[in-house]
Symmetry: C2
DNA sequence: TATTTTCACTTGCATTTCACAAGTTAGATA
DNA sequence: TATCTAACTTGTGAAATGCAAGTGAAAATA
């Protein structure tokens, strides 16, 4: 059941505007990419990702993503220092957005990671299904830790 | 022929990162929405759009979008004050990105404009084809002005 | 022709956000 | 007990943003 939170003080009711207000910055989607495509789940992994996000920005973005219901945070039961960040259903539903952004840049800009691009181009729906499947499996494995 | 410009000082070669560096702010995609979906073509129209962009920000974003080859600027031959902003092929290729962002927000946030959302949901490919068609027609009409 | 309007901006300034470096705290490890 | 690690927070300067007012060229109007 997708809960739709009322929008507090949005600039407009346009759905694109909502997306832009939530995701329209230089870091949020990269964090989501790291979780969705690379399986990153810890603060340290995000920090060490290639684009080098600053630690205060990372903390801020994780807070905001959680506030928006895109990720969840839980403590690792076997090591109380570690936090595990996971994508919610709302978060994994961003897969088509990321996918189209990858395809657009790959088609119009000089970019790397052509294996990923070709994989998406070959069969977009299958790629999205695989992403969702991995997410679902990781979820089950997480629950098994308790 | 899609020219791929070399990326000057990108944070990484990841295609998603390229998209985020070009489009990842609170206004660029709204300007593109106004051009793509509402047919806006002048500075004044963008300024008066519902979200109320500041004039200096608008000028800056139009400059950057043009520098990235997403829009073009031409002077209206019948009124030398007016400039006409148009989406390039690279710009109209953002339609799938906008579409997925609209669907995501519509599914998870409290948003308006449900007619548009339902139109997209009914047949996404047909919606995209219609957007492209309108763009192509507008292009031809523009050329006819000369 | 002179004056006013329109259009697409620019400029100045206060506020907010960002980037970088350093420091902090709770919990694990030796 | 001391050290280490993970996940932050804090401080500071730089850059981006938001708001109001002003500018200049071209067009419309008197």
């Amino acid at each position: 059941m997708p809960k739709k939170r009322p929008s507090p003080k949005r600039r407009s009711g346009c759905p694109l505007n909502a997306s832009v207000e939530i995701l329209g910055d230089r870091w949020s989607l990269l964090i989501i990419r790291d979780m969705m495509l690379r399986g990153f789940r810890s603060y340290k992994e995000f920090l060490e990702s290639y684009e080098r996000i600053a630690t205060n920005i990372l903390a801020d973005r994780l807070r905001k993503l959680e506030a928006h219901g895109i990720i969840t945070t839980e403590r690792n039961p076997s090591d109380g220092r570690k936090l595990i960040y996971s994508l919610t259903a709302k978060g994994i539903d961003l897969a088509p957005v990321l996918t189209e952004m990858v395809l657009w840049a790959a088609g119009h800009e000089d970019t790397a990671n052509q294996e990923l691009v070709r994989l998406i181009q070959k069969d977009k729906e299958q790629f999205l299904a695989a992403v969702r499947q991995r997410w679902a499996e990781q979820r089950i494995r997480s629950m098994a830790n308790y």
